[in-house]
Structure formats: C-alpha cells, structure tokens
C-alpha cells in the first residue's frame, strides 16, 4: 500500500523523468496550483516549459471543521504543466496512474467534458475531469487563455487531487484515515489546520480588517503596475513577481470574505473584476518584460 507521501514521491519522480522541473509549493496562499507563478506566468509567451509541484490549495468555503470525510479547507494538488502539450500527453498521464499502482486494466477510466475557467485570472481552457471508478481524480485542461491573453503555445495542465487518489489507493472512506507515512495518519498531520481555519474563516475572521487588507494589497499591485515602464532599459529589474504576490493575496482574502458571508452576490461580480484587473495587468506586464526593450534603434532594425 502506498502512503500519501509515497504517492507524491512517485508522481514527482515520474514527471521528473519526463523532463519536468520539480518545484516546491509556492509560499503565498493560493486557491489552486494554477495560480502559482509557475503556472500563471510561465504559460504565457513562446518559451517551452515543463514543471511539476505539489501545491496546498486553500478553499475557505470548503472547510468543514475536520468533520466531513471528503471536504477540506486545504487540499493538496499535484500540478503538472507541459508546455507545449506533447502529442501523447494522455498516454503519459495514464502512465503516471500506472506508476502509482493503479492497474488500468482493472479499473474504469472516463474522460468527461469539463472546461475550466477562472474569472479572477482571466483564464480558461478546454478539457475533462478524469473519472476513475466514478471518482474525479484529475482535472485535465488545455489552456487557451491566461490573463486575458491568447496563449502562443497550448500547455496541458494536469491537476491531481492527491487526497482523493490516496484514499482511492488505500481504500479509505475518509481522507483523515489516509496513511501520510508509517505511524502518521492524515488526521495527525492536518486535522488542526482544518478545524482552526474553519473557525477562523466562518466565525472569527474580522470582516473590516479583511476588506482593509484587500484594499491595501490591491493598491500595492496597482501602484507597481502603474510604475512599470515598458520602454525602460532597466525593465528586467522591475518587480512584476512581487506585484503578482499582491494579486494572490487579494484572491485569498476575497475567498475568505466570501466564506465569511461578507460578499453579496451583487458585490461578488465587482470584486472578481477588481482582482481580474490586476491579474490581467500583471500578465501583460510580465509578457512585455520577457521581450527586449524596444528602443528607437531596435525598432528600426526590427522593421
């Protein structure tokens, strides 16, 4: 039987063997592995890229105080980006399932239409949810647009739901019973996260403070984007990456406010637009930053 961490090791090894950079989780709170700069920014532009990382993903509204056997405030995604997507991407993906011990000859696997969209990131793609014996284990997406920009190369994004896969492999009815490693269950490691963040997100988060924080981070992102000068010969130095951290902060605070019931449906659309605006701004600035500075001379040469 594979422990939770063994499954992670095997998947990382598998994708490392296929040319992926193995990254560690990003150190700012995110709702999904897609939001990490390793995905959101790297999918932009004409450079090939391959990366895999485990990303703890926070969904404040999904917390259940550690009581629900299947729902988590913070679950773990294994995020794989293959840019451009290889022709045999599905075969490679199936190979990864075999690598963690799923005998596909004996299980039922279906690709069911599921197109992914993130309004806050101005991103969407076409793809499937991958169902294994009726359980959704992976979201498979061909990215089409990110930060409102059509992508030059179409990346395949594979997002594995690690707790579900572990529960499947270990035949557990509750994710809390998963063996993290010998002698430690998932409950031992994560129960308090679930309990305390549920209490915070649903009961104790101070709404006024969160709004204030949201506005501060939003303003900081906007200030930086305003200051970015595409014509500056020094533009490579410009802190676009830190500006993006501010976007991520806003997104997480928005989710927390939402779980706290502090955002009405009407307001919701407006707040999503605000986050989207700075996310799109970062994407455009990042893309520009990858290009050489277009001075009068180089512009002439380019013509």
């Amino acid at each position: 039987m594979s422990s939770f961490q063994e499954i992670i090791f095997k998947l990382k090894r598998y994708w490392a063997d296929r040319g992926c950079i193995i990254q560690e989780p990003y150190d700012v709170e995110v709702g999904a592995g897609t939001m990490c700069p390793e995905t959101f920014l790297r999918v932009l532009g004409p450079q090939s890229y391959r990366v895999a990382y485990v990303q703890p993903s926070r969904r404040p509204a999904d917390g259940r105080y550690g009581d629900n056997p299947n729902r988590l405030f913070k679950h773990s995604q294994l995020q794989v980006i293959l840019k451009p997507s290889p022709d045999d991407v599905i075969e490679q993906y199936l190979g990864s399932l075999e690598a963690i011990g799923i005998d596909l000859r004996k299980h039922d696997l279906k690709f069911e239409e599921d197109n992914w969209e993130s309004p806050t990131l101005g991103a969407w793609g076409i793809g499937w949810q991958v169902m294994l014996d009726g359980l959704e284990i992976t979201q498979f997406t061909y990215f089409q647009q990110c930060g409102g920009i059509d992508l030059d190369l179409v990346p395949a994004e594979l997002t594995y739901g690690l707790e579900r896969i572990a529960a499947f492999l270990e035949v557990r009815d509750s994710v809390y019973d998963i063996e993290w490693t010998k002698g430690f269950s998932y409950r031992d490691v994560r129960y308090l996260d679930e309990l305390q963040y549920s209490v915070y997100n649903f009961e104790m988060a101070d709404i006024a403070t969160l709004w204030k924080l949201f506005e501060l981070h939003e303003a900081e992102a906007a200030r930086l984007l305003q200051a970015y000068d595409p014509k500056s010969p020094e533009k490579k130095r410009f802190p676009i990456l830190p500006a993006y951290d501010q976007v991520l902060k806003c997104s997480n605070i928005f989710n927390t406010l939402d779980s706290r019931g502090a955002i009405s449906v009407t307001e919701r659309v407006g707040v999503i637009q605000r986050v989207r605006k700075i996310a799109v701004g970062v994407a455009h600035a990042w893309l520009d930053q990858q290009q050489p500075v277009l001075t009068a001379e180089t512009a002439e040469v380019a013509q």
Binding site: N70, P84, K106, G125, I126, G134, L135, D150
Partner: protein, 644 residues
C-alpha cells in the same frame, strides 16, 4: 470501377452530446463535396468520427471545355496566335456560330480527375469545417481549431491511402484500439476496419453499444432514462453495465435527491423494486469489458456513499432553519443586479399571483418559493432548486397546494414537460415567469440570436403552455402592459407553440392570430375550428374568395363605414348574396359556409364590383366588407393559403 471509402478522424475524447451533431455536419459536408457515391454511413465513438461510403468512381467523368477564339473574319495572324496559345494548329480549330457571328473555337478535352486526388485536396478542409458548439486550438495560437486534438487519421479509397496532412497528422491506414484494452496502433483496410476495431475492444456502431447496454441490463429493473443511455453510449467505446448497491438507510432521504446524485453526478441508472419504488441499488456503465475482482463496483459504491453522506448532512443542516425563517435572507441573494434581490422578486410575485386570481395559498407559495436558494442542499445540487423547496415545505407542514406549487415552480422546463400539477402552482409559475420577462425586458436584457442568458425563451414558452393547457382565460397582452418588444417576443412563442408543438399549419396560425391572440384559450378554440373547417369542400374556395375580397377592398382603398343601402342592390346574384347574408348573419361559420360559398362564387362570377356608378360601387364594397367582417370572427380566412 467503383471503390469504397473510409475516413476515420481519431481524436481525444469528444464531449458525448456533441457527437451526433458532428456526424450530421460531416455528412452534409461530404454531400456538398459532390463526390459521386452510392451509400454513405456515419459512426462515432468518443475517440473517432467515421464516414464510410460505397461506390465512388476511380475517376470523375471526362468533360469538354469550349474556349472561344477570334471571329472567323479576324486576320490569320490572330487566329494563328489563338491556336498557338491552345497548343494546336489553326486547322484543328472548330467554328461555332454565336449571336455575334461565326467564331473559332477550341474544344479542350478535360480528363476526369482521380477521385483520390480530389479527396486528398478536400478532406482536411472538410474536417476542419465540421461544426462544434465550442472548439479549441492545441498546436499553437494560429493552429487549426477542432473540438479536441486530432491524433490520427485513416483515409482509404479502396486499397490506397488518400494522402493529406492536418495539424501535423498524416493520413494513413493505422487506427487505434481501446485506450486500455486494445493496441494503440492497428493496421486496417476498408474491408476489415470494423472487425479490427472490435478485436481491439471498440464497438463502432452506437446502436450496437446501445443494445449491448440494454441487453446486459437484463434482470435489473432500472428506471428507464433514454437521455442517460445516449450519454453513456457516446462516452464509451466498449460499454459494460455493472450493478452496485448502497445502504438502505439512505432511502430515508428524498428520492429526488438520491436520483439526482446518481443520475447527474455519477451517471448511474437508478433501480426500482417490484412495486416501482426506489431500490438501494444502481447500475453504472463501465468503459471496459469486465470487473471480475469487483474493483470498479467497490469504487463506485464508495463514491456514492460519500455523496449520499454529504446530501444527508446538508438535508439535516437545512432543517435547522425553516423556509419561512429564511425569507429575510433573500434580501442578500441577488436576482439580477438591475432587478434587485430575490426578496423583492418574491414580493412582486405575491402581488402578481393575486392579480392572476390566486388565493392566500398562492400568496404563501410565492412568499416561500425562492427560500430554498439559501439552503446548502440547493447550493450543492442547483438543478434541484424548487424541488428542494417543495420537499422542505412539505416536511415543515405547509398545505399540500403550497408545497406542490413550490415544488413545481420551474415547470414546464421544456416543451415536453408538463405544467405544474395544481392551480396554485400554475398561477405561481406564471407569476414567476411573467415577472422575470417583464423585468428583464424593462431593463433591456433582451435575448439576441443564440444569447439568452436568463432563459427568457423558456420562460415565455412556459407562460404560453401554462395559459393554454391550464385553460387560463386571461388577457396576456394586458398582463404585459404595453411592452412592445415583449409583445412581439411572446407573439413569436405563441406562433411557435401552436405550429411546432401543437402541429397547426402555419397559415391557420396566421389566420387565427390575425384577429387576436391575447386570450390563448380562445385562440386555441378558434384554431381547432379552423382545422375542422378545413376538411369542408367549401372551405378553400371560400378562403380564396375572402382573399379576393380583401384585395378588392384594398385596391379600392375602402375605409369602411356606412350602411348597406338595400335600394341599390341589383336583383340576381347580388340580391341573392345579400339575402343569404341576412339569413345566416350571426350563425357560426360552420353552419354558414356551405350556404354562403355558392352565393359568393356566383356574385364574383356575374357582378362587377367596380360598377361605373360610384354609389353602386360603394354599396357593393360595403356589402363585401360587411361579409368579411361577419365571418372573420374566428380567423382572417384571407390568410389561408389555397391551392386554387
């Protein structure tokens, strides 16, 4: 020699619901290419769209092209130049007489092109033109678009490959088997194609997959569900049903919730016991051949258990706050930014149900109708809104008409769906839909083309269906109070309903609606009368005469008014017609038609309406106009399309 043709477009998994449409589109495109063939057959699985045709010619027929040269009187130099350009000697040119005189002409023989070449040139384009409601690019920004990436193409004409390239894929004779049970590359010929696929666990024919599922269900009493069956047929290449079970204690949850989880979330058939009650069992359809060790069954049972546990948790949580106590919470749920919250909508509906003749129970139902939007169960299973509200209202002791009205409030959801089962529900559903329509039109949210984000077409169709089938003698036009855009929107739905749903002919609908359509029950009755009248041999001729009458009145710019002056009526056909009119006026047209028709015919035959005497002319026009009005209460018969 005639040849068979095989085209297989190998893709990654295509969404099941798009497949039949894609095949239809491919078929049309192939027919449009005008490549002669005897038969054509289309098939598909999630990973392949297949067109097979028989009887294609090896080459197209030879043809001749006539190239017109200089006039016969042109100088020899010009004639020589023309001949040289065509690559022949001048004496090999023919001549032809044209309206402009005699001309030299060169008859060019064009050999028919090889069908293979024509196909090779046109197939890539044909494939990319297949219509999908949504498409993607996968080979870079300016690459081709298709529903999902194309991974292989088989194109064979007889024994030969039709060579072309699309998105970096070269056509060939290699297909692919089932992802896990078959080989990824299998060599095929036109003849052995279907058999080779079968050897590799791909059943090409949808009908065969459908039958395999039905056959292997035998003995299990599944709840018939043709739409789910279609989904499963197009989501599998080798479908095999398996049954599983769940803990009977979950049967305490409402059947609607259990069935929704199984049907919509897990794509399972639900199972009934001998009495037709829901049994603690389900049937899943796998995309493999067997489950000898029970892994698939166990896995699906675990997933279902987790989902049912969730549903039970939500059901129990929601019971802690009654619907009635949730009314104020609706202030925080937006119906539409410009139209306010659901609380405001509920309040408008409470007034509207009264206007529509609803009693205190209808008002109560309207008040509670949207409260389930605040429940956990509806947040999880949005497709159960309304139903969940109805179920909670029942548990919480609301009267039967009230909970049923809440339960049925979104009915009819389609033209096939029934209207709410009781009067309270019908009135409330009408109020809900009318409120949405009026509100959206007022703030300019009017559907355009295929864009209809608030499903206003469905709402309007629902209004029409409830009014007619619920026998509501309500003046629809008064209910929408002068909104012209909404009026023409509804008019279109009324027309659609009576034509497409009820099967009345378009001219009957035009004729009946021309004299009014505000009261739809009355309109339905008049349409039924027209339909009956149509079988009378006098009907069409009379309709033709009415049309003639209308034309005469229009040409004469007759504006009506005035009485018939009996003294001006001439003896003979005119007098006969007038007398007949006096006898039958006020009778239903069914009684009058056979008596009226010969008199009208004779009148038109013998009497000159445009009499030289202006007074007589005016009197005759008045007579015709009176007749037309008298017998146009049911319909404007001049709109009936006649063969004569």
């Amino acid at each position: 020699m005639s040849l068979p043709f095989l085209l297989e477009i190998g893709t990654e998994e295509i969404p099941d619901w798009m497949i039949p449409g894609a095949l239809e589109s491919l078929h049309l495109l192939f027919e449009k290419a005008e490549i002669p063939h005897e038969t054509v057959r289309l098939d598909a699985t999630p990973r392949r769209l297949v067109l097979r045709a028989e009887g294609l010619p090896e080459r197209q027929a030879d043809s001749e092209e006539r190239i017109l040269g200089p006039s016969k009187s042109a100088p020899a130099q010009a004639v020589g130049g023309f001949a040289r350009k065509q690559g022949v000697a001048p004496d090999e040119l023919a001549t032809e007489s044209t309206p402009k005189g005699e001309y030299y002409v060169f008859v060019k023989k064009v050999a028919g092109r090889a069908t293979k070449d024509i196909l090779a040139e046109s197939l890539a384009d044909m494939i990319l033109k297949i219509y999908f409601p949504k498409s993607m690019y996968w080979a870079g920004k300016n690459g081709p678009r298709f529903i999902r990436p194309i991974r292989w193409i088989v194109a064979l004409l007889g024994a030969e490959i039709v060579p072309f390239e699309l998105a970096g894929v070269r056509s060939g004779a290699l297909s692919a088997g089932h992802r896990r049970l078959g080989s990824p590359e299998i060599a095929v010929t036109v003849e052995d194609y279907e058999r080779r696929l079968r050897d590799h666990f791909v059943i090409l024919s949808a009908e065969e997959r459908r039958q395999k599922i039905s056959r292997e269900l035998n003995g299990v009493r599944v709840k018939m569900d043709p739409a789910l069956l279609e989904t499963l047929v197009y989501i599998t290449e080798y479908p095999t049903p398996i049954s599983g079970s769940f803990d009977a204690q979950f049967l305490e949850l409402p059947e609607e919730v259990l069935v929704t989880v199984m049907r919509h979330h897990q794509k399972y058939f639900s199972v009934q016991d001998a009495q037709g009650k829901l049994a603690p069992k389900f049937v899943a359809v796998m995309n493999i051949d067997a489950d000898p060790e029970g892994f698939v069954r166990n896995g699906n049972e675990r997933v279902l258990r987790a989902r049912f546990n969730d549903a039970r948790f939500f059901w129990e949580t929601d019971q802690k706050k009654k619907l009635a106590d949730r009314v104020p919470d609706l202030a925080h749920v937006t119906f539409q930014a410009k139209l306010g919250s659901y609380l405001e909508k509920a309040e408008r509906m409470m007034t509207l149900v009264t206007d529509l003749g609803g009693d205190a129970r209808a008002v109560r139902a309207a008040e509670l109708s949207k409260c389930d939007l605040t429940t956990e169960l509806v947040k999880e299973f949005t497709e159960l809104q309304g139903v969940v509200g109805g179920l909670y209202a029942r548990v919480q002791g609301e009267f039967e008409p009230v909970w049923q009205a809440i339960y049925d409030q979104y009915k009819p959801e389609s033209m096939e769906d029934s209207i709410p089962r009781n009067r309270t529900g019908q009135i409330m559903a009408l109020a809900d839909k009318l409120d949405t329509l009026k509100g959206c039109f007022r703030v300019g949210l009017i559907p355009t083309g295929s864009r209809d984000p608030f499903a206003l077409r469905r709402a309007a169709q629902g209004v029409v269906k409830i009014l007619v089938e619920g026998k509501f003698e309500l003046p629809l036009l008064d209910l929408i109070a002068g909104d012209e855009a909404l009026q023409s929107f509804l008019e279109e739905r009324v027309r659609f309903y009576f034509k497409e749903v009820r099967g009345f002919k378009y001219d009957e609908v035009n004729a009946a609606m021309a004299v009014g359509w505000s009261n739809l029950v009355d309109l339905e009755a008049r349409l039924a009368r027209i339909q009956d009248l149509r079988s009378s041999p006098d009907f069409e001729p009379l309709a033709a005469s009415f049309k003639r009458t209308r034309n005469i009145l229009e040409q004469a710019k007759f504006t009506g008014g005035g009485e018939i002056d009996e003294s001006l009526i001439e003896a003979g056909p005119e007098r006969d017609l007038y007398d007949e009119y006096r006898r039958i006026a006020g009778q239903p047209i069914e009684h009058a038609i056979s008596k009226l028709r010969p008199k009208v015919d004779l009148f038109f035959d013998k009497v000159l309406v445009n009499a030289p005497d202006a007074r007589i002319r005016q009197n005759r026009l008045t007579l015709l106009n009176t007749l037309l009005k008298e017998f146009s209460m049911v319909a404007d018969f001049s709109q009936i399309v006649t063969n004569s």
